[in-house]
């Protein structure tokens, strides 16, 4: 039987507002432990929350970008449970009446648009950070003691819940990349998984291909990069297919993904089901955004990444368009092409060389870059790389680099090529046996011999000619 994965994602996005969700403490990283706190975010007796207007507006902005309906009346509720990172004994979170519902995100693919439904996006407050010291698991049970840093407590957090519309690990990754780029471009979050400002949980089940049943799903947590999300989902899909295939039954469980081993570890099952005793937060009034505000936010939306991928695809191809847009590189590409650079070459140089050199695309002068793209084949490799690395330096000019010329003289290069081939008889044999991918290895060796001054295209032609002789 062929199995089809059914995947839903829950994404938490920490908003980069200046202050916290319900108090005026500074939000953000880097300050000393428990220095960004006040009676409100420490849950002192009598302290009351006041909703952060910017966080509410940004949530609406995100909802609009995700094609959601914006609720005329959203309500904060209390989610009650005890944990040391939750100073009030409850988390304030939108619950049955979230700010954004019923949206969708378009994922451009080679087989047309994939539509991933957005069930809801709601606003809540983040918990504080706990460190459990001692014990084996790093969890609170068995720890010698726990330390709590309340700086993060109360930071605004938006939770986005997708419909179970994602059909593969790869699709999950692409969706997340596009979502992340959308969030970054809206200017509402840095959305960095390594820093925890973007967190992803995946709900995974499988079903026989072309059926529409929904089988028991499991939840994957603790995956802190897009690649880990994809690997975690892949592993879980494989496991579930094996379970069903051997006549077993998938149980509802939660797994932690271990990046080092790629293993999924089940969390210890709780003895009783969670009952969060939600009820409307009486200390806050409902969020009722005026229609004019929602309309203004709607008209202020920039052109979104999915639309740009489709637009750029027409001048390039889907893969390159996707890389440029999700990498935040398409603006530079458009400027570079506008001043005369060849489209594909410009895309390759930006996506590989500029990104590889760690240069901020926004700081790159497009005209200079275009000149480098045009001259890249005749420039010595070392000079080209150096020029790319310095693109963002103030007052950068390509002139000194363009004055250099790569060695294209075949008379000069041939003996070096011959030396390299002689020194690597095994590779030569492998190449002749069909491993043509080794061409790059030979070219690289020649470049090394010439300290990067050889013209790579000429070298490559020479190597190919020699080896096929």
């Amino acid at each position: 039987m062929t199995w089809e994965p059914v995947i839903g994602l829950e994404i938490h996005v920490q908003l980069k507002t200046r202050t916290k969700m319900f108090c005026r403490c500074a939000a953000g990283f880097g300050a000393g432990e428990n220095t960004q706190t006040c009676p409100v975010c420490l849950g002192f007796p009598g302290a009351l929350p006041v909703a952060n207007r910017t966080a509410v507006e940004w949530t609406i902005r995100l909802g609009l970008a995700l094609g959601c309906e914006i609720a005329e009346r959203a309500v904060f509720s209390r989610k009650n449970y005890f944990y040391p990172d939750l100073p009030k004994g409850y988390q304030i979170s939108q619950y049955d009446l979230p700010s954004c519902i019923d949206g969708k995100m378009i994922l451009p693919t080679s087989e047309g648009d994939r539509v991933i439904g957005i069930v809801r996006a709601h606003l809540e407050e983040d918990a504080a950070k706990t460190v459990h010291v001692g014990g084996r698991t790093g969890r609170i049970g068995g720890a010698d003691y726990s330390l709590v840093d309340y700086n993060r407590g109360g930071t605004p957090l938006v939770e986005i819940v997708t419909a179970p519309d994602v059909r593969s690990a790869e699709e999950a990754k692409r969706f997340l990349q596009l979502l992340r780029q959308t969030i970054v471009e809206l200017g509402i979050s840095d959305a960095e998984m390594e820093k925890g400002t973007l967190r992803v949980d995946a709900n995974v089940s499988v079903r026989p291909q072309s059926s529409d049943e929904l089988r028991t799903r499991t939840e994957l947590k603790n995956m802190n990069s897009f690649n880990f999300v994809a690997r975690g989902i892949e592993a879980e899909v494989e496991r579930q297919v094996a379970v069903w295939g051997s006549g077993g039954e998938v149980k509802q469980e939660t797994f932690d993904f271990d990046a080092a081993t790629g293993a999924l570890t089940p969390r210890r099952a709780k003895e009783e089901a969670d009952d969060y005793r939600y009820f409307p937060e009486p200390d806050l009034v409902p969020v009722e955004p005026p229609a004019e505000l929602v309309e203004r936010l709607r008209t202020e939306l920039p052109e979104l990444p999915a639309a740009r991928i489709r637009r750029i695809e027409r001048k390039l191809d889907l893969e390159r368009a996707t890389v440029l847009v999700t990498g935040g590189l398409d603006a530079l590409w458009e400027q570079t092409v506008a001043v005369g650079a060849e489209r594909v070459a410009a895309a390759n140089v930006i996506a590989n060389n500029v990104v590889g050199a760690g240069v901020a695309p926004a700081a790159v002068p497009a005209r200079e870059l275009a000149r480098l793209v045009e001259a890249r084949e005749r420039l010595p490799r070392a000079a080209f790389d150096e020029a790319i690395a310095k693109l963002a330096d103030p007052g950068f000019s390509a002139d000194p680099y363009l004055a250099q010329e790569a060695v294209s003289d075949t008379d000069e290069l041939e003996p070096i090529v011959a030396r390299v081939l002689e020194a690597n008889p095994g590779h030569v044999e492998a190449y002749r046996g069909g491993k043509e991918g080794l061409l790059g290895f030979f070219v690289g060796q020649v470049m090394k011999e010439t300290q990067g001054k050889a013209n790579a295209r000429v070298v490559s032609e020479l190597v190919r000619a020699k080896l096929s002789a």
Binding site: G43, P45, D275, R277, P282
Partner: protein, 471 residues
């Protein structure tokens, strides 16, 4: 130092006049109250602590111990907050300080304002100045008894289902529970957020109006507050001409109203007619029938959540424990008294999955009905009148073992609290030698109207607020 003034009779307004005219120094005035406290509080136990040195050279004031005071221990009558010293002032504490009032001390309360007698205070009950064998009412019994006993000219209390009005009635003074949203709750230890309101207690309606004008108005730190639609007016006239007074049958003929209480209220209503108002019977059937049940679902539900923060992690006593769960369990077990525990259990149950719709959800619907019923009645009448408490002050210990009998003390105050409406209690006579309170219920933000009616009646009744044994 001999008493320079008779604090038993001195109103806050008169005290302010003495200071203004320089007839008394702030230190002398404050000294007079501290002396009264030294003399009488041993018997009454109104204060949990007094403040030796206070800022402000105005009229002194006492604050119920649920109101956070920067640098002054605030326990809300609970062991779980013993030793807790707030790092910030509640908005109302800040406003009275800004008005120059000097803090005398913190007054006794039932634990987390849960009770009708102050017997639930972890620090022992307060006593009624009219008869120390009897309770002063609750939860704000400390504030009410302190005002009657001349230990403070005025005080602030908090009212969730009657905790200002009922003690004022039992102690024979004036108490206002303001419109929900007119006074900030910021920094006031929460019991039931959708019901809690802060309000004044004093010997006269004018004093109550004055203190209300100081503490009321929108606070950016409390999202549920609003700006008053009109400024507070100190009442002056004695005429009630043109006013329509409604007498809800169910609130005036409820089971459990003592004959002497009903009689005192009826006599007051005769005076009201004499002052030119029209008095007519009306009806609030569902509000009285379902009010108590509705309240005892909503208030404990909110309380169960509000009291979750007392876990021993950040402040207050922490029990010895070997794990987080044990730490929380033991701290709460040792820190909370029986009444908070009872309400936490009630509230947790009412909010539980599978019960929410039947209990908390249903109670919210009933609350909406109660709001509508009051709105309808107040569209035909300017104010509604009833006894504040069905009984006069009861004996210490009499109801302590019977929670339901204790809960019934608030039968007549609870419906308008659920409706978010202002209520003023004024003394209207004696029954069995103990004060009887009359409750005036007004429309939303109708405090000025309550002050006007209360003031006129107060003049006509000429009730002597000094307990007979001290005259």
């Amino acid at each position: 130092m001999a008493a320079v003034v008779d604090t038993l009779r001195l109103t806050a307004e008169e005290a302010a006049g003495l200071l203004e005219r320089g007839e008394l120094s702030p230190a002398e005035l404050r000294g007079a109250y501290l002396e009264a406290i030294a003399e009488r509080d041993g018997e009454l136990h109104c204060f949990l602590r007094t403040v030796e040195e206070a800022e402000g050279d105005g009229v002194p004031i006492a604050l119920k111990d649920v109101i956070s005071t920067k640098g002054v221990e605030t326990t809300a009558g609970s062991r779980i907050l013993s030793g807790y010293v707030p790092v910030f002032d509640a908005t109302v504490a800040g406003r009275v300080k800004k008005a120059g009032l000097s803090l005398l001390g913190k007054t006794n309360t039932d634990e987390f304002a849960m009770g009708s007698s102050t017997e639930n205070s972890a620090w022992g009950p307060s006593r009624n100045p009219w008869d120390p064998e009897r309770v002063p009412g609750g939860s704000g019994g400390g504030s009410a008894a302190a005002v009657t006993a001349g230990l403070a000219p005025w005080a602030l209390g908090s009212d969730t289902g009657g905790s200002i009005k009922q003690p004022s009635a039992l102690c024979g003074n004036v108490g206002l529970r303001p419109t929900y949203g007119s006074v900030s709750r910021y920094g006031v230890v929460a019991f039931a957020s959708s019901l809690d309101q802060i309000g004044p207690v004093a010997k006269t309606v004018r004093d109550v109006a004055l203190l209300y004008s100081i503490v009321s108005g929108r606070d950016p730190n409390d999202s549920t507050t609003a700006e008053l639609p009109e400024p507070v007016r100190l009442p002056e006239g004695e005429s009630l001409a043109g006013l329509r007074i409604g007498v809800p049958t169910e609130l005036n003929e409820a089971e459990g109203i003592e004959p002497g209480v009903g009689e005192a209220v009826r006599r007051a209503l005769e005076l009201v007619t004499g002052l030119g108002a029209e008095v007519e019977e009306c009806s609030l059937p569902r509000s009285v029938r379902y009010g108590l049940a509705c309240y005892y679902l909503i208030a404990p539900a909110e309380a169960s959540s509000n009291l979750a923060r007392y876990d021993g992690v950040r402040y207050g006593p922490r029990a010895e424990a070997t794990s987080y769960q044990e730490l929380v369990d033991r701290t709460r077990d040792e820190g909370f008294g029986d009444e908070p525990k009872r309400r936490i259990m009630l509230g947790t149950y009412a909010l539980s999955a599978g019960y929410y719709d039947a209990f908390y959800g249903q109670a919210q619907k009933v609350r909406t009905l109660i709001i509508e019923e009051h709105r309808e009645a107040l569209s035909r009448f300017d104010v509604l009148v009833s006894p504040t408490s069905p009984t006069v002050a009861f004996r210490v210990g009499e109801r302590a073992a019977d929670p339901l009998a204790m809960y019934a003390s608030d039968l007549l105050t609870i419906p308008s609290c659920l409706a978010g409406l202002p209520g003023l209690s004024i003394p209207c006579g004696l029954s069995e030698g103990l004060p009887v309170g009359l409750q005036l219920i007004g429309p939303q933000f109708g405090e000025n109207l309550l002050f006007r009616v209360g003031h006129a009646l107060e003049r006509a009744l000429a009730f002597d607020t000094v307990p007979e044994r001290w005259r």
